[in-house]
């Protein structure tokens, strides 16, 4: 299954990217384009809605790192609803320390200025 990556910008500057399918070397470019778009909109926060993401390969990790670097240290990245395997991948490679992992999207936390 290929990757679906859709970007939605909120009025408050939160970039919500919905990811479905597999994030690997073949599909990481699509994800990266959404990140660049979000950067173009000067997003204050990146929210990755990952309920539908079944697999993340190293190329996916690399894109997350790219996102961190592209957006700068002040822009938090939220990983929402990721499946166990994806969370384990983040933990095993230490990226869980660089992103905020949450089960559900909580506007009160994420959209507050």
């Amino acid at each position: 299954m290929s990757l679906e990556a859709m970007l939605e910008m909120t009025a408050g500057g939160v970039a919500k990217i919905q990811l479905k399918g597999k994030l690997d070397a073949g599909t990481a470019d699509d994800f990266q384009k959404r990140i660049e778009e979000a950067a173009g909109h000067k997003a204050q926060r990146i929210v990755l809605l990952m309920e539908g993401l079944t697999f993340m390969a190293s190329a996916g990790l690399r894109t997350l790192i790219f996102a961190k670097q592209k957006m700068g240290a002040t822009v938090d990245i939220y990983v929402i609803g990721a499946q166990t395997q994806v969370i384990e991948t983040l933990e095993m490679t230490g990226l869980n320390h660089s992103v905020v992992i949450r089960d559900i999207y909580d506007p009160a936390e994420i959209e507050k200025v």
Binding site: D24, A25, G26, A57, S58, A59, L61, R62, I65, Q69, E88, T89, E91, M92, T93, G94
Partner: protein, 728 residues
């Protein structure tokens, strides 16, 4: 602007190809494709096989010489993708994350040795060969998953990106004299159920990373990892039908499959089958260790490979170029200086470069801080096995620019009887595992008489062995993975290796151990108390010696292997650190922690150069002075020794420290020790007295106790006392 080298010149069954670049060897990502390059001196036939990950059959078979099509015209054209003796081509538009590759080779003009028979050449075009430069190897992705031995391609070369985000990581570059090394096994460190690590991550690089706070608390600043290059845990494995268990595994991993690839089974991510993620996981661990000022030394095994002798599997090297990679007799038998079947031909220029390339790769790509070379004396042998006066590989390693700040540590002996402790060709760089220090510490510890003189050398960093090379040439240790644990050194007189199924014939017999009166486990409180004290004595001796101390994983909490001194084959509790011991033997852990802190707090214990036994600054005291129960009167024939270090001689006299006085009483009775008189403005403080129960056995730096009696001290039988002479 688009690069011209991203365009193909040839087509082969739809694959877009360009002539490749011979360097670097291996598979390298280049714009638009992957460059493949492999050397063989004798092969005249080579094809590249491309597989989808895990697929039994290749989806592409591309020859390096043969009929191709010309891009643009599609006309048939003979092409030869070979420069010198290197087969090389660039293939464009590859999904490199999802492929594996291998080679088939043949040398039609050379006779081919049959399996099980001696011979110089082992070309076999029916075999699929792993790339010696593979940066990731598939086939053993998750530890302990039984492999399909009928698979024609067991160890599969993979391609790795090298764009890990190091976030500015730099190797700490700690001075070698400041190191306290902790020898550990990645799997054994956190595999035990008591480790508290999630089961999917227990026994992996991630598991180890999670335990960094423990290492930090212990105070070690260098971890030496037993082999982490890809190996096959099922090599020579044995399954017991009755119990339904694997009773023998290649657990320690001293049998390399590939020198450039981390062991996928040590990565929690390995089972995903993505070699890049394995690399990321390992790099993340190293980055985190560095953030905690802990260096990483790898135990590397360049003396042999996992291909064994003429009966062994053809994995890579012997099928690519047998006489280049291995030392062979004129009849084509393998020389066996490693004791494991074959010996890598390390001083062949091709192999020498491979070793250099591998080590440079680990330094540049993985930020590794140093290497410990297993059976390093083999690296000083010529292609016929004779020791060389000026071995080019050792010299090249010592002077290599990329390895310029690495620690290089030799296990200065081999299984062929070449014992070079003290005489290893060092070129001003190499340190050695000082096997003589191990034997001396142990014999003195168990109370052998006449060891005081030998101990005095060890305490000074073995100037008798390393004159001109400094104290840091000596890596001091009492235990390592080979042999008894420290607890077993004080609990067993004899090895108990029956679990290895070799009739107790394997493992060393000269353990210099003493069971304190009972062989093995006992409920006798007096014996157990003595054993604890002996453990504390041992680590005290180690930490007050000049040179570089190394401790074995688990010794700090009294780990036992129940008298087995050669647990290379056990993937079970014999090798897994039992974390409940941290609580159970907390007094030991506490002692280790504080005695390591003592070493860190006192630079006089860590001089890089040898002490001179002279007062060359005119301070009134020599840099080191020797004593017995009477000050200034050492008894070189007994089992007692005391010495005093003069803090004015730190770092060749450029720094100041306390005086340190150490009394080691390995006699069975308590003895009064007269301390040397200090200058009037100084007084004695008690830091360590192993005859006292915890927590009175050691006082952390800054909390030492002023002694009531400043002239003499009663030191218990089989005890060590450490005093600090500090200004009032």
């Amino acid at each position: 602007m688009e690069r011209i080298d991203a365009h193909p010149t040839h087509l082969f069954k739809g694959h877009k190809i360009r002539p490749g670049k011979p360097y670097p060897f291996g598979a390298t990502l280049v714009p638009g494709g992957v460059n493949f390059s492999i050397f063989s001196h004798h092969a005249d036939y080579c094809v590249l096989l491309l597989f989808e990950k895990g697929a039994p059959e290749p989806y592409a078979v591309i020859p390096f010489r043969g009929m191709f099509s010309k891009v643009g015209t599609n006309e048939p054209e003979w092409a030869d993708f070979r420069i010198g003796k290197v087969f090389t081509m660039t293939i464009l538009d590859l999904d490199h994350e999802n492929i594996e590759y291998g080679y088939r080779m043949d040398g039609s003009s050379y006779p081919r040795a049959r399996h099980g028979e001696p011979g110089i050449y082992r070309f076999d075009p029916s075999q699929i060969l792993m790339d010696p430069y593979a940066k990731s190897i598939g086939g053993r992705d998750a530890w302990g998953v039984v492999p399909d031995k009928s698979d024609p391609y067991q160890h599969r070369s993979r391609i790795v990106f090298d764009d890990f985000d190091w976030e500015g990581d730099r190797p700490p570059e700690l001075p070698i004299e400041d190191l306290v090394i902790y020898e550990a096994h990645v799997r054994g460190f956190t595999r035990h159920a008591s480790s508290g690590i999630k089961s999917s991550m227990a026994g992996t690089f991630t598991g180890l990373r999670e335990k960094i706070p423990y290492l930090k608390e212990l105070g070690i600043n260098c971890i030496e990892l037993m082999p982490i290059f890809e190996f096959d845990e099922f090599e020579h494995s044995k399954y017991d039908e009755a119990s339904g268990k694997w009773v023998k595994m290649n657990y320690w991993g001293y049998s390399t499959v590939g020198f450039f690839a981390p062991k996928a089974g040590f990565a929690a991510t390995g089972r995903v089958g993505d070699g890049t993620m394995v690399a990321d996981e390992l790099k993340t661990m190293i980055k985190e260790l560095h953030r905690n000022d802990i260096e990483v030394i790898l135990d590397v095994v360049f003396n042999h490979t996992a291909e064994g002798n003429e009966y062994g599997p053809i994995i890579s090297y012997c099928g690519i170029d047998n006489p280049t990679y291995y030392m062979l007799t004129p009849e084509g038998y393998y020389y066996n200086f490693s004791g494991t079947g074959n010996t890598l031909n390390c001083n062949n220029p091709i192999v020498r470069n491979m070793v250099l390339d591998a080590l440079r790769f680990w330094v540049a790509e993985y930020h590794i801080d140093g290497f410990r070379f297993d059976l390093a004396s083999i690296l000083s042998r010529d292609p016929f096995g004779a020791p060389m006066a000026n071995p080019p590989l050792l010299e090249a390693l010592a002077f290599d620019p990329v390895l310029g700040k690495c620690k290089l540590i030799a296990e200065a002996w081999d299984a062929g009887g070449l014992y070079q402790v003290g005489s290893f060709p060092a070129y001003g760089r190499w340190a050695e595992w000082n096997g003589k220090s191990r034997d001396t510490y142990r014999r003195f510890l168990k109370g052998d008489c006449g060891m005081a003189g030998a101990m005095s050398q060890i305490i000074q960093g073995s100037p008798n062995l390393y004159r001109g090379r400094g104290a840091t040439a000596s890596i001091n240790f009492i235990t390592c993975h080979d042999g008894f644990t420290l607890y077993d050194t004080v609990s067993y007189n004899n090895k108990h290796n029956s679990a290895n199924l070799e009739d107790n014939r394997d493992g060393a017999n000269d353990n210099n151990s003493w069971n304190c009166g009972w062989e093995g486990e006992t409920e006798d409180p007096a014996i157990n108390a003595l054993r604890r004290r002996q453990i504390k004595n041992a680590v005290s001796m180690l930490m007050v010696s000049q040179g570089v101390p190394m401790i074995l994983q688990g010794d700090e909490v009294g780990c036992t292997k129940y008298g087995n001194n050669n647990t290379y084959c056990h993937d079970n509790e014999l090798n897994w650190l039992d974390w409940t011991l941290v609580e159970k033997n907390y007094d030991l852990f506490r002692f280790f922690k504080h005695i390591i802190a003592l070493r860190h707090a006192h630079p006089i214990l860590r001089n890089g150069c040898h002490l001179r036994n002279q007062d060359w600054k005119g301070t009134g005291y020599a840099d080191i002075t020797w004593h017995g129960t009477q000050a200034w009167h050492a008894d070189w024939n007994g089992n007692v020794i005391a010495f005093m270090l003069n803090g004015s001689y730190v770092k060749e006299g450029y720094d100041e420290d306390d005086f340190i006085y150490v009394a080691m009483n390995m006699h069975w009775d308590a003895l009064p020790f007269d301390m040397p008189m200090l200058p009037p403005e100084y007084q004695w403080l008690l830091s360590v007295n192993t005859s006292m129960p915890s927590p009175e056995d050691i006082f952390p730096p800054g909390q030492e106790r002023i002694l009531d009696n400043q002239q003499s001290m009663l030191v218990g039988g089989r005890s060590v006392a450490i005093l600090l002479g500090r200004k009032k």
